[in-house]
């Protein structure tokens, strides 16, 4: 059955008309871009660091199957239980089984984009399990009943005033906090603190999993990650299978570049290195740790040498901050767990081109994301490749060829015929120069163009003509 195609153009339209939203994103992204620029003021250091980080990721991907086996062995040796899930449905079922076994009806969760991919909260709620997001941004988004609009700053689409309003509507004690950011944060903190104590399960993401030591690394700013992974008796960590790195020494380049690229911080407030459940005689830590390693299409991304680079991503979100399209429409318009440039190359590969074929086109190919990507992902090249896949059936990407159009193919054939024969080119361009300007603005494409622009005007004579007339030599 053909899946419903997500209409990015329609979703972005509403966002474009929301001046509050536009203002929030413009301000936030401007701030993030300048903070990042301060971090990488030294171009030489930037080039050295990103080459190092890229090499760490490339090396991990080159040995991915082997490293995953090594990771499983070492995690297991450390007492961490490993679960493999090839689909999000499998990952959800695994999670539910762990929760049931632990008799847990409440989970507190730190930021995890993989669980967004899984729609885990909705799934568990359907099974009468409460999941509380403990990252402040995620908490706000959950209260609001929406999705994260950014992978690092989930509630970046809202300003303090809007958050204060939301709190007032949803939380009993919020009346006294006013619009003071510190007071609002304090209120959320008090509510969350109680939940951390009562939760049977803590959940988290993983920023890097070290194969040689069996260590899960988690970076965060609010301490909620540490609470989720240490206070409840059971901790479940979720990771995409690409998150593995080979050695412990591969971690520093990632945890340095990630926050510097994302928020312009030199390092996050918390760096958690989780290597085992609570041991005999230890006073804290969970008694069980589980890690759910999710595939969800990553293996097929991995199988294609060109598309594989998608998996280098360390989820810093800097590509969003620098994307002129994302900045205009915000994250919700993409209607996907991963918005912005990385989402535009990752989500179509996970969900297929029938549903997500338009995503790679919502890009001007300006390369702003490529310029700042800390692991040098050729995002725009992959975007171009997916545009090819969308209209040509192949074995590489799910639903490739789903957007093939005979009309479009014919237009390009005609274009190629015109541009490969000097005679055809001459006839066509002479005709355009002569009568092109008479084309009515209501024509398709011209209509879209002229929505905010004047009609392009064909010059009376082409450059070919002028050059000939001026005696510019042909050879």
């Amino acid at each position: 059955m053909a899946e419903h195609a997500v209409n990015f153009a329609a979703a972005s339209k509403a966002a474009l008309q929301d001046s509050q939203l536009r203002g929030n994103f413009r301000r936030a992204m401007d701030g993030l871009m300048s903070k990042r620029a301060v971090q990488f003021a030294d171009a030489k250091e930037w080039h050295t660091m990103r080459a190092l980080a890229a090499s760490v990721r490339l090396r991990a991907l080159a040995k991915l199957p082997e490293l995953l086996e090594q990771l499983e062995t070492n995690l297991t040796r450390n007492g961490i239980q490993v679960h493999w899930a090839s689909t999000t449905a499998e990952a959800n079922a695994i999670t539910l089984a762990i929760m049931r076994k632990a008799n847990a009806t409440l989970a507190v969760k730190g930021k995890s984009m993989v669980t967004e991919e899984m729609h885990l909260n909705a799934f568990l709620e359907d099974h009468d399990i409460e999941v509380l997001e403990s990252d402040l941004g995620e908490y706000i988004v959950q209260l609001d009943g929406t999705m994260p609009s950014h992978i690092i700053m989930p509630a970046i689409h809202l300003n303090t005033k809007q958050i204060a309003h939301l709190f007032k509507q949803k939380i009993k004690d919020a009346a006294s906090t006013g619009e003071d950011a510190a007071a609002l944060t304090d209120l959320a903190r008090r509510i969350l603190r109680q939940k951390f104590m009562n939760a049977g399960v803590g959940m988290s993401g993983v920023n890097a999993a070290v194969a040689e030591t069996g260590t899960l690394c988690l970076i965060e700013n609010e301490g909620n990650g540490r609470m989720c992974t240490t206070v409840p008796p059971v901790h479940i960590a979720f990771m995409g299978l690409e998150k593995v790195v080979e050695k412990l020494e591969d971690v520093p380049p990632i945890i340095s570049l990630l926050p510097r690229s994302a928020t312009g911080q030199p390092i996050t407030t918390y760096v958690n290195m989780i290597s085992s459940p609570r041991k005999e005689g230890e006073k804290d830590g969970p008694r069980e740790i589980h890690v759910v390693i999710l595939d969800n299409g990553r293996s097929s991304v991995y199988a294609d040498p060109e598309l594989r680079d998608t998996l280098r991503c360390i989820r810093c979100g800097a590509c969003m901050n620098h994307c002129p399209v994302y900045t205009k429409v915000g994250g919700h318009a993409y209607e996907a767990p991963y918005p912005g440039p990385i989402g535009q190359i990752l989500v179509p590969q996970m969900e297929g081109l029938a549903k997500r074929g338009e995503m790679p086109h919502a890009c001007t190919m300006c390369n702003a994301c490529v310029e700042i990507c800390p692991v040098q992902i050729p995002i725009v090249e992959i975007m171009g490749r997916l545009r090819v896949e969308a209209v040509h059936p192949s074995a590489s990407v799910k639903d490739s060829g789903a957007r093939a159009s005979k009309t479009e193919a014919l237009v390009w054939k005609g274009w190629a015929a015109m541009n490969t024969s000097p005679l055809a080119y001459k006839i066509a361009t002479t005709a355009m120069s002569a009568v092109g300007n008479a084309a009515p603005g209501s024509l398709p494409l011209l209509k879209e163009w002229t929505s905010v622009r004047s009609k392009p005007r064909f010059a009376p004579r082409t450059l070919h003509d002028l050059a000939r007339k001026k005696g510019i030599p042909n050879v």
Binding site: A9, S12, L16, R22, P324, V325, K328, V329, H361, A362, C363, T364, M365, C366, N367, A368, E371, G384, R387, V388, E389, V391, E408, A409, W412, K413, W415, A416, M418, N419, T420, P422, Y425, T429, M432, L445, E448, W449, T450, S451, V452, R453, S454, K455, P456, R457, F458, A459, R461, T462, L463, H464, D465, L466, A467, K470, I472, P473, N474, V475
Partner: protein, 251 residues
């Protein structure tokens, strides 16, 4: 950039005008050739040229792009530099042709042509080291950098260095010089509303400089920005840098 400067200044160059310039901005192409001639160079404009292939390449129709790119190869024999009045088309030839021709029987030939491609302002500054004498009236301008010129061809300072050589021209830079104007080829019509928002921001940035003219090196951006300026009834006008430099230096 990653390309060595030719040891001696060439006496002859090829000019690849691009399809957009050919149809919509031929004066910019002529001005580009005249600037090169003014430096004592012989300029060759092969009449068989059409397009670099970028429109189809970026739309997912690479076989059609390949045919069109291939049709250009034999027009530029020898080892003369190929000068292009567009960072975007130059970027296609320089950066994407190697990928497009990869594994094709004429790959070596394509690489040989690709390696000789220069963006116009880059060639004027890096190879010819031109010295311009301004003959115009005092004028405030701003510079719009195309994304592909900046990020594919590495052209950032060259055009601004040329504008700064003009004694009576005051260059006021944009606040968000690096941000895309929203053209993006078919993007402008496929995602017309987002493109409109982007060019709207660009126009506001241009206006805030108080410049009378916005100069750029890429006609795709110019068509977009000029179209929006005109439709919005703004007095600022966009112009290709070749035309602007020619106008200022020829009096």
């Amino acid at each position: 950039m990653d390309r060595p400067t030719p040891p001696t200044k060439p006496t002859k160059v090829y000019f690849f005008g691009t399809c957009l310039v050919d149809l919509f901005y031929p004066e910019a192409g002529m001005a580009g050739m005249e600037l090169l001639q003014a430096q004592g160079l012989t300029v060759v404009f092969p009449q068989g040229q059409s397009c670099c292939g970028q429109p189809a390449y970026n739309s997912g129709y690479r076989a059609d792009a390949l045919k069109v790119a291939r049709a250009q190869l034999d027009l530029f024999p020898g080892d003369l530099p190929i000068v292009v009045p567009s960072g975007s088309c130059a970027g296609m030839m320089k950066k994407h042709w190697p990928h497009l021709f990869h594994g094709e029987p004429d790959e070596a030939k394509a690489l040989q042509v690709s390696a000789r491609v220069w963006e116009l302002t880059q060639f004027l500054v890096q190879v010819l080291d031109v010295k311009l004498t301004d003959k115009g009236e005092p004028l405030r301008v701003t510079w719009h950098a195309s994304c592909h010129a900046q990020r594919e061809m590495g052209v950032v300072d060259e055009p601004k260095a040329l504008l700064r050589q003009l004694a009576n021209v005051e260059l006021v830079e944009l606040t968000r010089e690096k941000e895309c104007c929203g053209f993006g080829g078919t993007f402008a019509v496929r995602h017309a509303e987002i493109s409109a928002a982007m060019v709207g921001d660009k126009v506001a940035d241009i206006e805030s400089t108080g410049a009378k003219r916005v100069v750029s090196g890429d006609c795709g951006c110019l068509m977009n920005i000029n179209g929006a300026l005109e439709a919005g009834g703004k007095p600022v006008q966009g112009q290709h840098i070749a035309q602007f430099l020619k106008e200022r230096t020829h009096g």
